[in-house]
């Protein structure tokens, strides 16, 4: 078995090419948008800001390291957040790159991630550490092609103001096609993805649904805005509505 540091090295070497391309794509896209905005007389400022944000995201991605950490305070007792996470099959509700997680028993679960053009990666994971209502860690099993680690900590916030949930994940994909697929799925901006995943987890617990505007009406969009949406928008999963329904129903039963 490769050591962790070896895997991190691998992660930097392989799979980073696609990421580099994507990063440049983002920077150029962002830059072009900004330039376009500056050449226009009227709604320029909004577009320039949007373009600036895209360019910023592109730069922030940095070199090919698939590692992310995020932390959110959630207004619930640690037990609630822990139960929700521990049922690993719940993870795809708020982790948009996951298609499914199926528990196979004995602490083993099968994970499927889905990326652009329905690229799929599957791996098995085992729970490596578990402290009820406090901490959970897992890693891919040795027979998986794809190496990943994850952990999540549930800590009571000071003053009993909910729970601070801190999640960490790391991916070390192999080279070749699988590495490129992994880069496409996880490499976009792992820190950003992790944060948004955790934000959705928080929303599910607190709001009982995931906020969205996807599918609401609007007037005619400009061609450039429509293109940006197609390229950059993160699309909501169709299962999110149902997840909200289940959360609301559970909440009503509880109260």
């Amino acid at each position: 078995m490769a050591s962790e540091s070896e895997m991190r090295r691998n992660a930097r070497d392989s799979g980073s090419q696609a990421q580099v391309l994507q990063r440049w794509g983002m920077m150029l896209g962002g830059g072009a948008l900004t330039v376009y905005a500056l050449t226009r007389r009227k709604p320029g400022i909004a577009l320039a800001a949007a373009g600036g944000l895209l360019a910023y995201r592109g730069v922030k991605m940095g070199a090919g390291k698939f590692r992310a950490r995020a932390s959110f305070a959630i207004n619930c007792p640690p037990e609630t957040a822990y139960r929700m996470w521990r049922m690993l099959e719940n993870l795809p509700i708020f982790m948009r790159h996951l298609e499914s997680v199926r528990e196979r028993g004995n602490g083993i679960s099968e994970w499927t991630a889905i990326g652009p053009m329905n690229t799929r990666i599957r791996w098995n994971a085992e729970i490596t550490e578990e402290r009820e209502n406090e901490f959970l860690a897992w890693r891919s099993t040795q027979d998986s092609d794809f190496q990943t680690w994850g952990s999540v900590e549930f800590r009571r916030a000071p003053g009993n103001r909910g729970t601070i949930v801190t999640a960490e994940m790391e991916y070390a994909p192999p080279g070749g096609a699988l590495g490129r697929a992994a880069a496409a799925i996880f490499g976009k901006d792992p820190e950003f993805t992790m944060r948004e995943d955790l934000r959705r987890f928080k929303a599910l617990i607190e709001m009982h649904e995931i906020p969205t505007t996807e599918g609401q009406p609007h007037g005619p969009r400009s061609a450039i805005i429509s293109t940006i949406h197609q390229i950059y928008a993160e699309h909501r999963k169709t299962s999110e509505y149902g997840a909200g329904e289940r959360m609301s129903a559970a909440q009503r039963r509880a109260s």
């Binding site: 900004t34 500056l38 009227k42 709604p43 320029g44 400022i45 909004a46 320039a48 800001a49 949007a50 373009g51 600036g52 944000l53 360019a55 910023y56 305070a73 207004n75 103001r161 909910g162 950003f192 944060r195 948004e196 934000r199 928080k202 929303a203 607190e206 709001m207 009982h208 649904e209 995931i210 906020p211 969205t212 505007t213 996807e214 599918g215 609401q216 009406p217 609007h218 007037g219 005619p220 969009r221 400009s222 805005i225 509505y241 909200g244 329904e245 959360m247 609301s248 129903a249 009503r252």
Partner: protein, 399 residues
Amino acid sequence: MKAVCWMGTEKMSVETVPDPRILNPRDAIVRITSTCICGSDLHLYDGYIPTMEQGDILGHEFMGEVMEVGSGVDQGKLKVGDRVVVPFTIACGNCFFCQNQLWSCCDNTNPNAWIAEKMMGYSPSGLFGYTHMMGGYAGGQAQYARVPCADVGPLKIPGGLPDEKVVFLSDIFPTGYMAAENCNIQQGDTVAIWGCGPVAQFAIRSAFMLGAERVIAIDRVPERLQMARDGGAETINFEEVDSVIDELKDMTGNRGPDSCMDAVGMEASGHSLFFATDRAKQALRIKMDRAEVLRQCIRACRKGGTVSIPGVYAGFVDNIPVGAGMNKALTFKTGQTHMMRYMRPLLERVERGEIDPSFVISHRAPIDRAPEMYRIFRDKEDRCTKVVLDPWADGARAA
């Protein structure tokens, strides 16, 4: 349905767009009976707040009838057929902030929280029709609107009260009231209010409700100054005096007002964080004039007094006299309105006949005339103080 869309700076357009539908279990669909243009919409009209996109539906002051509710809405709280006023802030009701009555700081309702976080550190709640940074929710200058978290925000209105007496509970009445509350008014206080727009008009009346003995209102538009006097305020026309601050000193025996309110705000707050452009610089320069209000508030306020800022700021301002604020021991209070604190108590005041909020209305128009109304309101033409739009006038299709 018909909807007022932002198509670019100073380009509003009434477009036919698809009807909204339920997207989340706690949503409701409201058939809008009255909807207004807010002074803060003019910042969007003038193109000074970033992250608007062509085609966005505007409007955040509206009321109507519930047509449909999602499966997650408790029928005891809201059901089809209820007549409701919808607050402009969207709040989940369960996060730390909602549970501490800081409704406009809700942690969960902005799907684009990351954009707001880049600009402000943390994201406030989602708002209707007010940029993608603030959630990108389609607004209510339309025939129908989708209302998220509908079991928290919408306030049921009993029959018998006409729309125009209650529609301002959606924003400007509570906003003016909270602005006055933020003045920390003690019995007998003197409050100075910069700006005599609709929010200020409600702030003037609220300040008296909260125990102020004297309100001094500052503007230059004659009909607005008159409206302030009708509300019991003394007025200063800033174009007729050399110095507003000297005038206030004179009126208060060199003590200064106990609290000063900036009910003007600053349009140029939203220039790009990332790229200085000539256009942004120009916009900034124009707006430096307007930031003068906040500067004046700070300098005019008495020692140990309070500065209340209901005026909309979205970004950065320069040359704020922080030294004056520090050395005079001032308190600053501000924020988007925590709507759900104020809507019901203020409705009760309307029901008891203590105030009839319809006094601010100067124009009533069918929605088709919205683009023209935006311009008139911005330019303060035709003695315009407040515009209420009827989404269904002119034989628009029935519900």
